[in-house]
Assembly symmetry: C2
Homo-oligomer: 703 residues x 2
């Protein structure tokens, strides 16, 4: 032990003089590089001389190992493990128990000084794990440790990453390489990434992982695959994460050989009950099921004229006494049945009160599909008897893949803060989701994962910030996206103030910039067909009308936008009167949502003083120009950044700029013949023709 | 410079005392870890005090940089760069020129002592690059440097890696993660992997890369994508590699808007000529085209009743004066036109002499499709007027994906040494391919790449050995697979003799073990439908008869095997009489090929003294048991291995063992009802039923 500590000390000392290796991003925000400021480092050293932990559960062992690994790196000193502090002082003490923790939820933690030590205390070992990461975060972000007092509990219970990973290793809508799950190697080989993803998740409070795509394969329910899933569960368990599965509704047919998958069929019910028992034999803490049914071609209870509630409740009953839950997705829309905006509401709202107590309904943040900006989904606030899981998308399906820098903290926060007015002003989506508005015991929030086997996990480095922000907001939705961005930047990139300023500014502005050059003023769903890359506002024919672009933007000689007021589809009527009032009048509707709800004349003057056409052009042009501003912020931070990291993001910003101009030119050139007006001064008309831009789009549709 | 050298020295010294990090395999065989043996290291140090290079071309700069990087790591001393040696001695001198190099091909090199320096000399800078890697290999494998004299020239001109990588980042038949080519990031961002893949290729003499799948997308010929391809070409060029493209035959239609892709249509010809000019404007050293036409659904000249020669020649003419070539694949087979074995021959052999001088015909090693063992393709030796490219598959489509340890050196060598008897005994496939038999100016060998974005490039570590062996054999087909295996093992794993012995033994035996437990005695094409994973000898219905298993094994109550003699399909008649004589008689036909050519009675006694049924069972059982032998060899080498590397392969061997038993049980249980005999002693019948094994196979076919 002594020799090991000496070696560690030598290593840490060397850390200071060795030239840094290129940072490949693999370590995410858990870098643990030595604190460069000597004075600060000494303060930390004095407060973290050891970690005392009973180490009597796998989770506590993971917590104390992480603390020692992190602190020894950060402080440049060996941090030995003790069973109990005894008379030692100046160290960290891990403690599981209820004493003094009456205000905490089970996963909450407190950090406080006691006998010249810092105690991390929680009713559960998982809470201690979260507290340990919180303490590390203090050091990583250069906050003081001495006398530290922190108390925190998660506001939402199930904080889940949803992987859209397929059994063949591809990731639906993934832009960071192949899946991290290596199904052909499991259960014998456990890729080190499983552990590192679990560490990252634990550090931000994520406590569950749906490991397979909602367009699900039946094979996960076979004994062969359950063994593989159990092996993954074993890696994730010490990090406080449960495994969940997306299920294929027709599994009783393709696996069980039954003639039906009707949820009211006793044989089907028995098949699922047996499947659940088999799962729990192998995975005693299995989290439950996520279901995409009767949506985009997936089978479901409607195939047998049963409701979503009948389907979900059958699964809930099959789970029986097992602790799992059913998360039933509300992402449904039938072809040709009117405004797609309204369909999930129309199908699910009447089912409120009909779901089993183990069922949560999982609702996307907006009514269409993860657009760069959407009004909040009208189901929030409309199903008070049903716990609703908020589903947000971290992978940038509609937000520029891995070549656009888009920090999603503001997007997620915007949804959480949206006021449903369900029980009067202040009935935010956050309060619906965390269960406080309607007093639900269950609550959940899901982020569609943006991680893959790319070395840096997310392709674009800032994708890491989106993973990070999701976890932090799911834990505590009152946090500000700006504070989260700064936390992440400090932990991931630099703590130098001169660099922090431009970096946090660029993160904060990035999403609104993206909206401006792609879908300003409430435009939506005008991206490339199927692939969802690049602009394609001219798309008029597709497998279904609501897969085209013209269905959504409705450009004509009079104006632009989808009339969802009473003179149109009347989707606005799904919202509370207060919301209707705000959004229903084009004069008061925030410009960000204008074309979501109104068909606005080209020459209509907006609150900015410009006509619609001029405002539209202004946003496309200034949006695209703002990518240069992003580049300037990145360049300003360069002295503080790892060179490889700098070069990587700088190159992606170049691509982003090129693609922003592509969006701008495509959209203004396409809409111009409807508006029949020139590009307003001072903007120069695009140098290329619409045909040229269209050809550029077509390339990405080629076989 | 001085400070840098001091730092390097410090770093190297530290290398010895720092505890090793887990080896993640990324560095491949170019590890450059310090030589542990002090005496040997001192000898190397005395011979490599500097690298003198004019550094007047990018290739020379790459060569001298690699030498300095490699030697400074291996020798633990700074290795400075000099422009010319001057009066310095004890160093490495790079020299481009013809003096003394009359016996060398352009890419050949000589290494020899001169004035107490070691000179690496070649007519070209590329030859110096190859010589530099050869010198590094000397040190990596612990051969002496003092007085070193080496001379080597490649026997085959175009040594190409064929990537089957799709524009969306997937890899057809890839088992090592997503594509290393990041098309959405190009040309702005150049992933560091491009450089590292080029270094690895250069180190084994690979001089060209077909970067996209033969099932090709048209988009690579668009200006947008040519810019991306040019950026890749720019990274590969200093490492002596040219970029080639697979082309989509219908590109003139989908890109050019022409009504036809008929190769005799003047507009089509003009379109391709223009495309070639555009390519060469951006990539002056573009290597040429690879074409899969009228095969497995791809369009081609037959759509217009033109021959493959007419198609290939049109492309050759379009290339005009540009230096590129056309590699036209002979992998064609029409549904329902008799024995698939014969079809490529029947379609291509009559075209011999009709191809343009810029055309090579690319032929897979065997007549079916990259089975674990195939007789050599009958086209070898049958098209003397046409240069033939030998195509082998490194990615283990039919060889256990990334969970089976299979070293392919023996497979590739077996093909190269196969005797076509085209011009009498000794007319090996190697001599056909290297052009020496028929005096061709062009020659080529292609390996279907097994690399992806997995951290260790190939998924299974031993996949690296297959990449390595391909390059070495394409450079010099007279090398022995055993020597190559030892080279690779020394460079990649360990130089400790006690570990080398079991490691090289396991590599050498691995492919024959795989054959024994999957397709012994000449069985072929009995693997899982479409996915090609696991056994499926019962497959009797598929999109085409020649996609089933029963088409190939022909099991019935009488016996097993495909009669390809005159009493059957007579495919044997495609070979020279000497070959026919050897293989046509079941008594003399090597057992490895027996069921390729004969329908053999279950009770027929073989040269081993056993009946067919008993021999079949013996091979399945001893083959599966041999995986335990592989595990023992790996375990024996453990003390010499990096722990992470050890654990990774050990886990994969566990999976392999499980899957070997799966193959064994599936095959003996399926064939047993035909043979109507018990499993012979001393082997115990499988503990599971055929139905259970089938279910295991079915899982991998589930959506």
């Amino acid at each position: 032990m002594l020799l090991r500590n000496v070696l560690l000390l030598v290593l840490c000392a060397l850390g200071a003089i060795l030239p840094g290796r290129a940072d490949d991003g693999y370590r995410l925000w858990l870098k643990y590089d030595r604190v460069a400021e000597a004075g600060l480092r000494q303060q930390y050293q004095a407060a973290a001389r050891f970690v005392a932990s009973p180490d009597n559960t796998p989770v506590l062992r993971a917590a104390s190992a992480e603390l020692r690994q992190g602190l020894s790196g950060l402080l440049g000193q060996a941090v030995p493990a003790l069973g109990a502090p005894g008379t030692h002082t100046g160290g960290i003490v891990l403690r599981v128990g209820t004493a003094g923790n009456g205000q905490l939820r089970p996963e909450g933690y407190r950090i406080f000084p006691e006998n010249n030590n810092l105690v991390i205390s929680s009713p559960t070992d998982r809470g201690v794990l979260y507290g340990s990461f919180a303490l590390l975060r203090q050091v990583q972000t250069r906050q003081p440790l001495a006398g530290l007092r922190l108390s925190s509990s998660p506001r939402i219970d199930r904080r889940l990453l949803n992987h859209w990973d397929n059994p063949n290793g591809t990731v639906e809508r993934g832009y960071a390489g192949s899946s991290i799950w290596q199904w052909y190697e499991l259960p014998e080989r456990l890729d080190p990434r499983y552990t590192d993803s679990a560490r990252a998740n634990a550090s931000i409070g994520i406590n569950g992982v749906v490991i397979n795509n909602v367009n699900a394969s039946a094979r996960y329910l076979t004994p062969e695959y359950l063994g593989k899933v159990a092996a993954v569960a074993g890696v994730l368990r010490p990090y406080g994460q449960r495994v969940y599965l997306s299920v294929f509704w027709a599994a009783p047919k393709v696996l069980g050989g039954l003639p039906t998958a009707d949820p009211l069929d006793p044989q089907v019910q028995q098949w699922w009950a047996t499947a659940c028992n088999q799962i729990y034999q192998q995975i005693p803490d299995f989290g439950g099921f996520l279901v995409k049914a009767n949506s985009e071609g997936e089978p479901g209870p409607s195939d047998y004229k049963r409701s979503h509630a009948e389907g979900a409740n059958m699964l809930a009953k099959a789970l029986g006494q097992h602790p799992g839950v059913v998360m039933w997705r509300a992402f449904v829309y039938q072809a040709g049945s009117g405004d797609r905006f309204k369909q999930a509401y129309e199908e699910f709202q009447p089912l409120d009160g009909k779901f089993d107590s183990k069922v949560l309904v999982q609702v996307k943040n907006g009514p269409i599909d993860f657009q760069a900006r959407e009004p909040f989904h009208p189901l929030f606030g409309a199903m008070p008897k049903t716990p609703l899981v908020l589903e947000v998308q971290l992978t940038q399906e509609y937000l520029g893949f891995a070549t656009h820098l888009v920090y999603l903290g503001p997007l997620i926060k915007e949804v959480l803060e949206a006021d449903t007015h369900a029980q009067g002003s202040g009935s935010t989506v956050a309060k619906v989701v965390d269960g406080s508005l309607d007093h639900h015991a269950l609550s959940g929030m899901a982020g569609v994962a943006n991680i893959g086997a790319d070395r840096n996990w997310t392709g674009h480095l800032v994708g890491q910030a989106n993973w990070y922000a999701f976890g932090r907001l799911a834990w505590d939705h009152t946090l500000s996206p700006r504070a989260i961005a700064e936390e992440w930047t400090r932990m991931t990139l630099t703590t130098q103030p001169a660099a922090l300023r431009p970096l946090v500014a660029m993160l904060q502005q990035s999403r609104s910039i993206y909206v401006r050059y792609t879908t300003p003023l409430g435009l939506h769903h005008i991206m490339g067909e199927s692939i969802h890359f690049g602009p394609q506002p001219w798309l008029a024919k597709a497998g279904r009308p609501d897969w085209t672009a013209v269905y959504y933007h409705r450009a004509d000689s009079l104006g632009l936008g989808f009339d969802r007021t009473a003179t149109g589809s009347n989707a606005l009527a799904l919202y509370r009167p207060e919301v209707q009032k705000l959004w229903g009048n084009p004069a008061t509707c925030p410009l960000d949502y204008l074309l979501w709800f109104h068909h606005v004349g080209w020459n209509q003057r907006l609150s900015t003083g410009r006509t619609l056409w001029n405002e539209l052009c202004t946003r496309y042009y200034t949006g695209a120009d703002s990518v240069q501003w992003l580049q300037k912020q990145w360049a300003a931070a360069r002295p503080a950044l790892d060179p490889a990291t700098y070069a990587d993001v700088a190159a992606r910003l170049q691509t982003q700029q090129k693609e922003a101009l592509w969006w701008r030119d495509a959209c203004v050139l396409y809409f111009q013949p409807f508006a029949r007006q020139p590009i307003p001064a001072p903007f120069a008309p695009p140098a290329r023709s619409l045909a040229e831009v269209k050809e550029l789009v077509r390339i990405y549709q080629l076989k």
